[in-house]
Assembly symmetry: C2
Homo-oligomer: 515 residues x 2
């Protein structure tokens, strides 16, 4: 067997059985091996940002890495923005990046580039295989790196001759190490802060926002009266009626400071000290109010369920019923113009149970997603690295990971443009995604930021760079171009019809909401 086949069989040994791909000539022996060996599902993206973003969404829902297949330095370059988002989300994946045959690199052919240099800024682990006989062992190390809790970006660079030359067999992959337990000292420090008598809050992050960990946090809140917060962005959060009540810190610095202003004991469980998304003249970077102590109980890599259970015990909260969100999904739909309140009510009522929500609606989203805490229980996935163009790709990967669940992607029209090619992959794989595009015809968030900077009305150049009109994007036509059914809504009534239609279709559906 050649090196490529030994790698495919090694990936399968490590339970990596989905490959999001955009290959080229230098990957052809790997393509051939994937074609010969049974067991890996290969899914094509027409652009590499779709590929890496899909692997991120897949990891968040499947809890295990997918592989990606990328073509040399430029192909990896096209995937970098969503690798950045995935790295910030602490998602695991194994990127297989083709390289020229080792003896060919020095000739500086057109596609020659410093692939390790491109990989390093957005990877946790990078290795170039030196020989066909190394690939299996290198691949095993890549999978082991990717599966290191909570997840890592592993990039394995595969010179073409290491893929086509004769190799040994596949390698065994060590099972993932269990997450590290949090020690008593940290638990006690956290518990002490909460019972200090001062205004206390827990900032939850990572896996603390899901399952039993979240339940334990809800019990602690019920028992002690402390508040639960989470960061503005979270890789995957269980939300909705019956889930523990957790308030999300706002994006805007002043609003975040206001929400935290009377907290005097801030306890971190899976989260970092909160900082502002961007810096602004005269505003702080760190969002902790003056006089507030910060106690770190556990980082995102630790066993957060164990940590929160132990804290609940230390605080006598084991028997308490969690403080949870009340159901708010039986209210009436509003009618008329598209308003934040109307959107909040509509999605609260219509979001199906167990939906996976992809949130990249930016300005439009901020106006209503906070109002959806009382919707039917669902998972909520945020863009973690702030690089827009994540949503369509992440929705693709999430739908592959959880084919039995409905994926609802809330998208800004600006954001969705970076990876709109994902629509084609959704159509080809018949992925069950309803994508709602909020078409406000602008980088609306930037229009607000410019007003903060300049004060005056935008002139010709600012309008040129911040608006998406002249011409308006026709999202229904774009969806048709990719074979995805679509409709348009300009009122809340039309949106309700369209959203119900999207939910009824067992495949992709796109709705352009004219704002």
């Amino acid at each position: 067997m050649n090196g490529a086949e030994s790698l495919v069989r090694t990936l399968l040994n490590g339970d990596v059985n989905v490959c999001f791909a955009n290959p080229g000539t230098s990957e052809m022996h790997f393509v051939s091996a994937l074609d010969r060996v049974e067991g890996v599902r290969c899914i094509l993206g027409l652009f590499e940002g779709v590929v890496t973003g899909a692997a991120d969404g897949y990891y968040r829902m499947a809890g295990r890495p997918a592989a990606t297949l990328l073509h040399l330095g430029p192909g990896l370059g096209n995937g970098l923005a969503n690798l950045h988002n995935a790295k910030k989300a602490r998602s695991g994946m194994v990127n297989v990046v083709g390289e020229h045959a080792s003896y060919h690199i020095r000739h500086d052919a057109p596609l020659t580039a410093d692939i390790e240099g491109v990989a390093r800024p957005m990877s946790d682990w990078v290795l170039t295989s030196r020989a066909a006989t190394d690939i299996a062992a290198d691949g095993a190390k890549a999978v082991e790196a990717a599966r290191t809790a909570p997840g890592k970006i592993a990039t394995l660079i595969l010179p073409a001759d290491t893929a086509w030359n004769e190799a040994g067999g596949p390698a065994q992959v060590a099972p993932p190490a269990p997450r590290a337990c949090v020690d008593d000292g940290a638990i006690d420090a956290g518990a002490k802060a909460i019972r200090s008598g001062k205004s206390a809050a827990i900032l939850l992050g990572g896996a603390a926002l899901r399952g039993k960990a979240l339940e334990w946090a809800g019990r602690i809140a019920a028992k002690t009266g402390c508040r639960l917060f989470c960061e503005y962005n979270n890789a995957r959060m269980e939300r909705g009626a019956g889930r523990a009540t957790v308030r999300q810190l706002p994006f805007a610095v002043d609003a975040a400071l206001a929400m935290l202003q009377d907290v005097r004991e801030l306890v971190l469980v899976g989260a970092k000290t909160p900082v502002s998304f961007f810096a602004y003249p005269g505003k702080p970077s760190v969002l902790v109010p003056e006089g507030c102590s910060v106690t770190k109980v556990a980082g995102a890599e630790a066993d957060l369920e164990q940590a929160l259970e132990a804290m609940a015990d230390a605080l006598g909260a084991r028997g308490s019923a969690p403080r949870v969100n009340a159901a708010a999904h039986d209210t009436a739909l509003l009618a008329g113009a598209i308003t934040p309140d109307g959107l909040g009510a509509l999605f609260n009522v219509l979001l199906p149970e167990n939906a996976i929500v992809i949130d990249e609606a930016v300005t439009s989203g901020r106006a209503f997603t906070g109002a959806m805490m009382g919707a039917r229980p669902h998972d909520w996935l945020n863009i973690m690295g702030g690089s827009i163009g994540w949503g369509p790709a992440a929705a693709t990967g999430a739908a592959v990971a959880a084919p039995e669940r409905k994926v609802v992607a809330f998208e800004g029209d600006g954001s969705a443009q970076y990876t709109l090619q994902a629509l084609w992959t959704m159509a080809r794989e018949n992925l069950d995604v309803t994508m709602v595009i909020f078409a406000n015809r602008a980088y609306k968030i930037l229009v607000g930021e410019l007003a903060n900077v300049g004060g005056s009305e935008p002139g010709t150049n600012a309008r040129a760079m911040l608006t998406l009109d002249r011409p308006d994007l026709d999202w229904v036509a774009l969806a048709k171009g990719y074979g995805v059914e679509a409709g348009r809504a300009a009122t809340l009534e039309e949106l309700a019809v369209q959203f119900r239609r999207g939910l009824a279709v067992a495949g992709p559906y796109l709705i352009e909401v004219v704002m």
Copy 2:
């Protein structure tokens, strides 16, 4: 004035007056300065690959750098593939990349990344400004780097506080240094090789393929009988009837070896020793036949017109009429099915004089573009780094640089998908581009490469990764989505109607050629 304004005024001092942009919050003070200061034309791309590819196309036609404006590490990441192509084309540009305020970086906010690390593999020059008072001088250095012959990728990273803090005035920019003359020793060596009596050829590259330099080469060929070749890809080549006859080396290794097989003296003027695009088992990387001497007269950075004029004098060719392509644009159009011969004849006849041709048609293009040497005189631009997704972006920039000329972009359906967002910029700026998409519904080049590797019929996974059907892309709908008029052609007659229509429209037009 703040740092951002001092930079804008410095760019103008260096004749940088076009900015292809996709900005974010950290660039807002730069956006504001571009809005206040008159003189820079700002052009939005909906994806950063459009932005950097447009700057490449612009440089190739305008001969001076544009600026780009990109949002932090991920925004730069999205632009890397076309920076790679631009670097290999030796195009000059000044990338202005926003960064967090310097004091904010250590807080590791979501968009924090190693921007210099992302920039380095695809840049010739990288600098992060340290203070507002440095920006003007840093900007001047960036423009000077970008204008270094034949052109360099300069990436200037601008922390937000260096943009918003108070600075001094703008800086002066040193004029570009003239290209270095080629010394007599190199000229004599080249001339000696050509008159050696052995079978001689000149391999031309860079600026040797244009204007007076190309004419001198044509005179040398006429006088001495030596042949003229160029590499497979060229940044900008003057072709068509009445231009010196230059044969392009084929992509396929065996065909390139065959074309060069009887050459015994190969003289390089602006070109490198020819190498194969990819390596293949058992095939050579270097395409020079055994027993052939290689003489380098000048690299791409040198004054190639001076070099070829001096060689012509050394060879007594000053008075010779150049050996040129015969006109072949008055032949009859063929009818019926879309065939390589039919395409060659059609474009030979219909290509307008002085057109700028963007060639990213890959498999389809190879079949007919070689037959277009007798078309009306035109410029021909190749993708230089091999990273597909260059064409729509480069066409955008070329059309901005040369508004009085018609741009014809030949595109593969696979290639055009990576940067199809360029269609919107073409519509907004009413750019005079006729884009011809050869829709063969596959990465056809890879289907061929796989056959070389595997021999057998592609299976499920190979088909999944190499075909673009299920569903077919509807390019007419995609164009409509971006506000671009479009039509479809399934026969040569329909294509003639569509192509004439595209030429008649004073703005973008897209043709889907169903193969």
